[in-house]
Symmetry: C2
Subunit: 195 residues, 2 copies
């Protein structure tokens, strides 16, 4: 087997693990928590379906989709970080950067560097593609909460004002999707899912 | 909310259900069966990483990725069909076509038509993009079997010769990936996963 294919299959086997990294929100049957792999799939399709609502014209949509497919891979080493867990959020970037170096290092170097660079572009939230991808990533759990109810009844409920504050960056990418996000937050607050 | 966004959010809520459609193979911790949403995520990333091995140059890779992200959505209405269940395979196309009409019909019509047309292109296996996407879809469970062992000890084991016959179409898209597939099949046969 050629060396590149050996490295690529090692990477593709390693990322099987993303299917076992669980988030705080549930699947629609409430039978289990959502994992980061199926979450990433949902985001990629959301971006494809909702791209007309990005305020910036001419986005490179494939770049957005690639970012969303890989944006959580560093969790394989770093674990999922809950947005409202302040302590974990403080160390998140450092933990994920280290995890990403290890993971993307499995690939042929120029291929791993390209994907890791896309991940860093996503995290930096500067380019229009990264802002739109981050907006989609912020929007999906809000829609999921309305459909599935609160992630875990034992968890402290975030305040609706805190949710609004942490999701406000959606507005930087899409006024229409920010309106949708606010409507979803109001609905979950009315349903008692947020304080 | 504008009409298009209402239709798009109805579709994006409906596809939550793909996370509850389970396949025959397991996750790497063997704790549960893999679902079609995380499977689709894995395929999209496999296509991105392995595209250099497609024999046809100049593939439209984004088209391949979009096909793989949507290729199983019709299962929301039709259920997952096991490749080795001959009776279910016979009615699969008809069941999935009907399911897809309903599902993509939730979207604004020109957007739903485009996605459903991509799904039909995938199923027809004629264009280079469809052949490569279908090859990736055939390859992933072979790699997963080697990592996770047999899907279910109660299921009848397929014969290695049948697996080889049903996966042989990979060769039409990529000689290199067909060699990889044969190696994976031999390994699983040696591990006692196939007869």
């Amino acid at each position: 087997m050629n060396d590149r294919l050996t490295q690529q299959t090692a990477f593709l086997s390693e990322i099987e693990k993303l299917k076992t990294i669980y988030r705080r929100n549930r699947t629609i049957d409430r039978a289990r928590f959502e994992n980061s792999a199926e979450h990433s799939w949902h985001l990629a399709l959301m971006a494809i379906v909702l791209c007309e609502h990005a305020d910036q014209p001419g986005l490179d949509l494939f770049k957005v989709v690639k970012m969303l497919l890989i944006h959580d891979l560093a969790e394989i080493h770093a674990g999922d970080t809950w947005l409202y867990d302040t302590e974990a959020v403080a160390s998140q970037q450092q933990r994920e950067d280290a995890g990403a170096e290890t993971l993307f290092g499995l690939l042929p170097s120029e291929q791993g560097d390209k994907l890791n660079s896309l991940r860093r572009e996503f995290d930096a939230r500067i380019t229009p593609e990264a802002r739109f991808a981050v907006a989609i990533d912020a929007l999906q759990p809000l829609a999921n909460h309305v459909l599935t109810g609160r992630p875990d009844d034992e968890d402290p409920k975030p305040h609706a004002t805190e949710v609004l504050a942490r999701k406000r960056h959606i507005e930087e990418s899409s006024v229409v999707l920010w309106e949708l996000a606010q409507r979803l937050i109001s609905q979950s607050a009315a349903d008692g899912l947020y304080e």
